[in-house]
Amino acid sequence: MEPRLQLTGVTKRFTMHLQGGVRLPVVAGVEFAVAAGECVALAGPSGAGKSSVLKMIFGNYRCDAGQILVQHDGEPVDVARADARAILELRRTTVGYVSQFLRAVPRVAAIDVVAEPLLAAGVGREIARARAGDLLARLDVPERLWALPPATFSGGEQQRVNIARGFLPDLPILLLDEPTASLDAANRTIVMDLINEKKKCGTAIASIVHDDDVRAHTADRVIDITRFAANSACSGEVDTGSPIRTCARDVR
């Protein structure tokens, strides 16, 4: 069977023009595939390029070389070469992503933040909000918070809103970037259950998880990203997040 997601020769480097054109190699020749119903965990120390790989699959970072094939409506689409419209279409119908941080939009209520991907996929507002509420309840986000914008929530609450948003639509591929990092044990268990339910439904998952317990309970395979270090002298220097944006994390 065709894998849902297949990376071949994927290479990423940043050229930082403001620092005299320093080139920061991130990864080179990344190869792996994820089948339907499978969860693959990307492993490696902080700075190995795990998040960059997920961001390339989501089309958030450009891919300098190689192929990122995603099964979309039964056809393979190469994200590395897809144009903006094609990537937006993939995000609507095929690839979901739970980032490390919630990018909160001012004035939008938590429940609408969560429901938005369903609305974008054409689900009616009432149904979308009802399903968003169910998932928020399951993730133990108190109902009195649902109507509030999440910008003022605690880190753990924001992360659960973010998880709900990512898990609500049934997309064939799901990318998870440390979804359990700031959660307590009870909530971690809930998220593990959600991941395993997605797998049962046939979702292909690529995840970054630092918690050994979570990894052991969700991942079918582990890919060591350090195998694809672009340049061992430099790769350790790249921090999570785009180095170019170090002072611009909160652009909203």
Binding site: F14, T15, M16, H17, L18, K55, G59, N60, Y61, R62, D73, A84, R85, A86, I87, L88, E89, V105, P106, R107, V108, L119, S242, I244, R245, T246, C247, A248, R249, D250, V251, R252
Partner: protein, 260 residues
């Protein structure tokens, strides 16, 4: 890929010289229904020239703009008659100015400002015009009790919201916006942005938004074009260009934002 498959607006090789001075050079793109394109760059980069070329307020020195009319036929805008162009402006297009005074009649009531666009497309029934105006004021969060006040006595944020209501009441398919949040204070900006974001999604509007504010571009647009010295130097998916900027100038823009 499934999606509405014919572009609404096409720019091909758009170039404008003011005498020997370059306005913008060789700009090409296509805009699809429901798509929001942000044009960013500093003052003098050619953003506003481009917007005026697209909306036929300026004639290009070279290149052309095509638009898919409501009957489905794509026409070169330079070939339209003056009457056809005016009709587009009154119905199918909106134009939101940075300075609301340019887009509103400051001395007539808010209701008349909204109603005028409806009358221009043939509405005659006073009660229905007023009813629709009330609905739109409410939609842009202006208390309908203020319907008889002229925008002269409105705050800057209210004027901008009224301008949006006036533009959207005829259900245009394409809206041009020139620095829609410029000159407003931050809390007023946030409210306006949120409102615009909601309306754009709900009505499936296509929009070209000129802004020097990357936060506005990030919040509202799907795609972004970065202009410098009259040329497009980088374009693509908004979050990709802002999170992984490639050109030196784009990197400078992105890294110049002060953290909140």
């Amino acid at each position: 890929m499934s999606a509405p498959d014919a572009p609404l607006l096409l720019a091909e090789g758009l170039t404008k010289y003011y005498g020997r001075q370059l306005g913008c050079r060789d700009v090409s793109f296509s805009l699809y229904p429901g798509e929001v394109l942000a044009v960013v760059g500093e003052s003098g980069s050619g953003k506003t020239t481009l917007l005026q070329l697209l909306s036929t307020q300026l004639l290009p020195s070279a290149g052309c703009v095509r638009y898919r009319m409501r009957d489905g036929v794509t026409r070169d805008l330079a070939d339209l008659s003056e009457a056809e162009r005016r009709f587009l402006f009154r119905t199918d297009w909106g134009y939101v100015h940075q300075d609301a005074a340019l887009g509103l009649r400051m001395n007539v009531s808010a209701g008349a400002n909204v109603g005028e666009r409806l009358m221009a497309v043939g509405w005659r029934h006073y009660g229905r015009i007023r009813g629709t105006a009330v609905q739109w004021l409410d939609r842009v969060e202006i208390d309908p009790d203020r319907i008889d006040d002229p925008p002269l006595v409105y705050s800057g944020g209210m004027r901008q919201r009224l301008q949006i209501a006036r533009n959207l009441v005829t259900q245009p398919r394409l809206v041009f916006m020139d620095e829609p949040t410029g000159g407003l204070d931050v809390s007023v900006q946030a409210r306006l942005l949120d409102l615009l974001r909601g309306l754009v999604t709900e009505l499936g509007l296509a929009a070209v938004i000129v802004t020097h504010d990357l936060a506005v571009a990030r919040l509202l647009s799907h795609r972004i074009m970065v202009m410098k010295g009259g040329e497009v130097i980088e374009q693509g998916l908004t979050d990709q260009v802002l999170d992984d900027p490639r050109e030196p100038y784009t990197q400078l823009l992105v890294s110049s934002i002060l953290p909140a």
